[in-house]
Structures are given as C-alpha cells and as structure tokens.
C-alpha cells in the first residue's frame, strides 16, 4: 500500500453558515475528527451535513468566527484548490471531455507531476480500484458503479490529507450500494486516511462510521459510535431516526412499569408518567399466558427472511416487532410479547 501520507486530524470550531438568501443552514458547530478516523455525518435532507462537508472542503466558508483546522494548519481562509483534499461528489463530477485515465490523472496534471511518475501513479490507482481495463473508456460509457470507482481513484490519486465523500452511493441501486459499501469500507481502512462521509442512509452510516454525527436542522443531535447511537439515543430525534423504535408509556411503581398492554419489570425509580423505548429485535412473540404485553395484530408483512408484525393495543403508538418464525399472523389475532431485560431505554 503506497498511500503513505500521515493521516491528520481535522477540527471544526464554531462554524455556522447562513446563506446569502437568509437560510440558516448550520448552527455553530464544533467537531473534532481524529487522524485516520472515518466520521459519518448522518441526517435527513436539510440537516446541514452537506454544508458541514463543504465547509471542511473549502467550497463554502463559515460565518465569521468559524475556524477549520487541518492538523496544525488553519485553513479557514484557504480556498479548496489549496487544501489538498480528495472529494467524491454525489454525481461523481467526472469530466466528460476526458477518458478514465485522464480523469484520474487530472489532479496530478494540475500539480505538474512528471509524466512517468504520473502514469505510474495512475496505473496504481486503477489497479487499486480494479478498473485497469477501463482506462480508455469515456465517462458516458461507464456504469454507475464504475463511475464511482473512477471518482474514488481520482480523489485518492493526489494523496489528499483527508477524503470527503458526499453521498457517494445515493445514486446507485440497492444491490450495488451494498456491495460498494463494503468496498469503500475496506478501502478506507486500507488507506488509513481521515475521512468524512455524508449520507442519509443509516445502514451506510453504521457500517462505515467509526463515529457517527447525527444532525438535524443545522444542529448536532448526537455524536457517538454506531452502538452508542443505536442503543443509547440521547434524544427523541435520534431514537426515531435510527432504526425502528417502539414507544411505551406507563406508570412506574414498586419495580413494575404498568402500561396499557401489560406490566413489565422496572429497575428505575417510581414515576407517574414514564415513556420508554425499545427496539423491535429486543421483543419476542410468545404465548399469551407467558407474555408481558398483550395486543392485537394490525398488519403483518412477509419479507422473506423475516415477518414484520404491527401490533396495536399495547401502546398509543403502533408497536413493530419482527420474527423469523414461519408463522402467519392473522389480522386481529391476539399476540403476546416479552421484552428482553435491559432493552428498555429512557430518554433524559
């Protein structure tokens, strides 16, 4: 692996962004990305994740007072041309007037690298991305997945200090996305480069991120590892946005939580009105006489490897559970659930 650049850390300090038309895209954000780490910015559209990425890239400048630091360098006032970043765009931004080889070589051509050295580096990149046979092809002859690889090769060829990826897989179909996700993950680990990855797809985020920054409406909702985010959401937004979440409401007294659907063991203190959350996979469907909660089937969906069952009567909200059992669930039939101990989450 000849990617021998020392990875650097990135710091964003108090970066906010208000656009000329008045839109407040980002509230003051402070974030530290460790050298070699892959951080995923995750959130719905309009949450500010792309703006943050573009500020790191140098395509947008933060409102006065914001700073961007690459290692020890304060790059806040440097335009993107001088920051030596590698960027992969959602639409790939491959140059239609050049073939694959020339595209990959572009950053090196701009840096006036000697021809031989440049050619060697380009071949190296093409090989790494397994697209050597595409060298002569023009951009419009490539499939989506191939364009992806070319975009990556082009971004890495210049040995950037940081790799920035703006929803690189969004434009691809589901199957391809999954495959490439794995490849990108491997690539990032191999390179050991600091990477910032923007996506709205939580599966991608969880699979790729060392840490995830969940954003909503210009503000960070939670930062943490995938497990942190999933098992310990710190607010309602994160709980809702990540995975599927079930909500129960009830009264906690003397070690039991009493809800409409039944009562559950409770390890917390007494409280008159409590809302708890749990993940579908932490609930199992059991016989009614062994169940903690009881309800009725509102709908069920056979998804092949599992069946998703929507239950009502246990909570104000519909409860979603999944089972791999080869059973059919008739609408209206009564169902019992047991929830794993420690699976109940409470938001502060």
């Amino acid at each position: 692996m000849s990617q021998t650049v020392q990875p650097i850390d990135i710091r964003i300090v108090d970066c906010a962004k208000t656009f000329p038309d008045g839109t407040r895209a980002l509230e003051p954000l402070t974030l530290q990305i460790e050298a070699g780490e892959t951080v995923v910015l995750l959130g719905p559209s309009g949450c500010g994740k792309t703006t943050t990425l573009r500020i790191i890239a140098g395509l947008e400048s933060p409102d006065p007072g914001g700073q961007v630091l690459f290692g020890e360098d304060n790059v806040t006032n440097q335009p993107i041309e001088h920051r030596n970043v590698g960027m992969v765009f959602q639409s790939y931004a491959l140059f239609p007037n050049m073939n694959v080889e020339q595209n990959v070589a572009y950053g090196l051509t701009v840096r006036k690298m000697a021809v031989e050295k440049k050619n060697r580096r380009v071949s190296e990149m093409l090989e790494m991305m397994q697209i050597t046979e595409l060298a002569d092809r023009r951009v419009d002859q490539l499939s989506g997945g191939q364009r992806q690889r070319v975009a990556l090769a082009r971004a890495i060829a210049v040995r950037p200090r940081v790799l920035l990826l703006d929803e690189p897989l969004t434009a691809l179909d589901a199957l391809l996305r999954e495959r490439l996700r794995v490849e990108i993950d491997q690539l990032l680990r191999e390179l050991g480069i600091t990477a910032v990855y923007v996506t709205h797809d939580q599966n991608e985020a969880m699979a790729l991120g060392d840490r995830i920054v969940v954003m909503n409406q210009g503000v960070v909702a939670q930062t943490g590892t995938p497990r942190d985010i999933y098992y310990k959401p710190s607010n309602a937004f994160v709980a809702d946005f990540i995975g599927t979440i079930n909500k129960l409401r009830g009264t906690a007294r003397k070690g039991r939580l009493q809800t409409i659907g039944g009562s559950l063991p409770w390890t917390g203190s007494d409280e008159a009105d409590v809302e708890v959350l749990f993940r579908p996979e932490d609930a199992s469907i059991v016989l009614l006489n062994k169940a903690q909660l009881r309800g009725r089937v509102a709908a069920s969906y056979f998804l092949g490897d599992r069946t998703k069952v929507l239950l009502e009567g246990m909570s104000e909200h519909t409860i979603v559970v999944e089972t791999a059992e080869r059973k059919e669930f008739a609408k209206g039939s009564e169902i019992g659930l047991i929830i794993k101990p420690d699976a109940l989450m409470k938001l502060d």
Partner: protein, 276 residues
C-alpha cells in the same frame, strides 16, 4: 402510427409541393446562371462565362464577405463565450436582464440598428468608410446567437459541480476554464460558430445601410446586380452565393444542434428571425 393510408400520401403530396415551391426557383436560378441565354433555355448551351463575369466584377465582394465573416466569428468567440459562461454561472435577476438586453439586437430590425449606428458614429470618417463599420453591425447581430448556443450547452450539464471537482483537485480558475469548461462546450461553440458565419455571409439589412461603394459585401453586390445586370449574370452571382452557403448549411444540419453533454439531443433550432 405507420399506416400508409391515403392521409399519408395526401400529406406527402402536400409536403412535396411545398418542397417544390422552395426548391424550384433555386434550380431555375442555377440553370439561368449557366445557360448562354435564359430565354432560349438550355438549348442555347451551358456556359461558365457568366460565372467568369461575376468573378471579374464582384470578386472583391466575395473576399470582403469572407473577411468580415471570419472577423465577426473571432469577435463573437472572444466576447460571447466568456459572457455565456458568466450568464450561466450567475442565476438571479441581473443575469436575466443582461441576457434580455444582449438579445435585443435580434429583435430590432437591422435597418433601425444601422440607422442608429450611422447617426452616432457616421461622423468618424475613417471608421465610417472602413469595413470595420460593417463588422460592428454584424457582431451586434450575431453575438446573441453565439451566446445563446453556448448557454444552451452549459445549461445541459452540471458544470458547476465539475468545476468544484476540478477545484478540489487543485485547478485554479483559468485552468478550469480551459481544461474543463471549454472542452465540454465544444458542440455549442461549433454550432454557434456555424450560425454566426452563415448569418454574417448572408446579412443584408444592416449591411446595405452601412456599406459604401468601397466596402461592398456579397449580398450588397447581389442587390446591385439584380438592379443593373442582365439576368444571367445576376443568376450566376446568386449561384456563386449558393455554392458558398451550401457547405455551411450542410455543416449546420450536421453540427448545428448543440449536443447535450451526456444526454440526448436537444432541439436548439434557434430564433427564426435570422436572415431577411
């Protein structure tokens, strides 16, 4: 809808008639230019002497037309391509207003523009009597076509993201302009260029008002010959004009639609108010 029914043939017949209406006079004129005597028809013999006479009398007009067309093209490229880029880059009201104003010369009859130019700059003797005066009129009239053509191509692909991509790889503004923007505008620049040259060679309304006896272009010469020369000479002269314009028209047909970069062809048949 491939039924070859009577309606099809009716339509076909009609279209053929229209075609005949348009082409027949051309053929007639061509024939007149190469026959000894028009009134005796082809029986009088085929000759090139009329063409020869045309060359003797009007060769300078042909050269001047070509000179102006080329100069006009160069001016339009230098002025129009950057202008189109700026207009494509900036959205917003000022850009639209500038676009509207740049297009104005097409809307105003050539006659009026010529008048305005004469009134304003006619006093500068040297300028007034040189071919540059005509050039100015031509540039004013053809620039919008170049701008429009390049704009059409630029609107067909996301050049802003491409520029960001190039910038992320370290390319500065001019580098991006020459290695990324211009190459991808090729089809628009070509279509625009063909349009500009064709328009310039055939321009009459403006040129007639702006010309002097020493600066006569081909169409001006044609008007002269229609008024004063015998039919055969006038026809031969027209023939020369058509021969000159034919390759341009073929090229326009082949390359005249700015191709969307990476998409299917877009009909940019342009403002019909081109040549009268």
């Amino acid at each position: 809808m491939m039924r070859r029914n009577s309606l099809f043939y009716l339509n076909l017949g009609f279209t053929l008639l229209v075609c005949a209406f348009l082409i027949f006079p051309v053929i007639l004129s061509v024939m007149a230019g190469v026959t000894e005597n028009f009134f005796q028809g082809i029986k009088s013999g085929v000759t090139l002497r009329w063409v020869g006479e045309v060359w003797e009398l009007y060769a300078d007009t042909i050269f001047l037309s070509l000179l102006i067309a080329v100069a006009c093209l160069i001016a339009d490229l230098l002025l129009g391509v950057p202008a189109a880029y700026v207009l494509a880059k900036k959205s917003g009201r000022t850009a639209r207003i500038i676009e509207e104003t740049l297009v104005m010369p097409i809307a105003i009859p050539g006659l009026a523009i010529a008048l305005a130019l004469i009134i304003t700059y006619g006093g500068f003797r040297d300028f007034r009597t040189s071919w540059l005066f005509i050039l100015v009129g031509h540039v004013l009239y053809t620039l919008p076509f170049m701008v429009r053509s390049v704009l059409a191509v630029l609107s067909s692909f996301d050049f802003k993201t491409l520029e960001e991509g190039a910038a992320s790889l370290g390319a500065g503004f001019w580098q991006r302009f020459f290695t990324i923007i211009l190459p991808n505008c090729r089809s628009g620049i070509l279509a625009g260029s063909l349009m500009v040259v064709t328009l310039s060679v055939g321009e009459f309304n403006l040129t007639w008002m702006l010309h002097t006896p020493l600066t006569k272009t081909l169409p001006v010469g044609l008007a002269d010959s229609y008024a004063s020369m015998r039919l055969e000479v006038a026809s031969a002269y027209t023939l020369v004009f058509m021969v000159m314009i034919l390759p341009l028209l073929i090229a326009l047909q082949l390359y005249g639609q700015p191709k969307d970069v990476g998409r299917s062809k877009q009909a940019a048949s342009g403002d019909g108010k081109a040549l009268t």
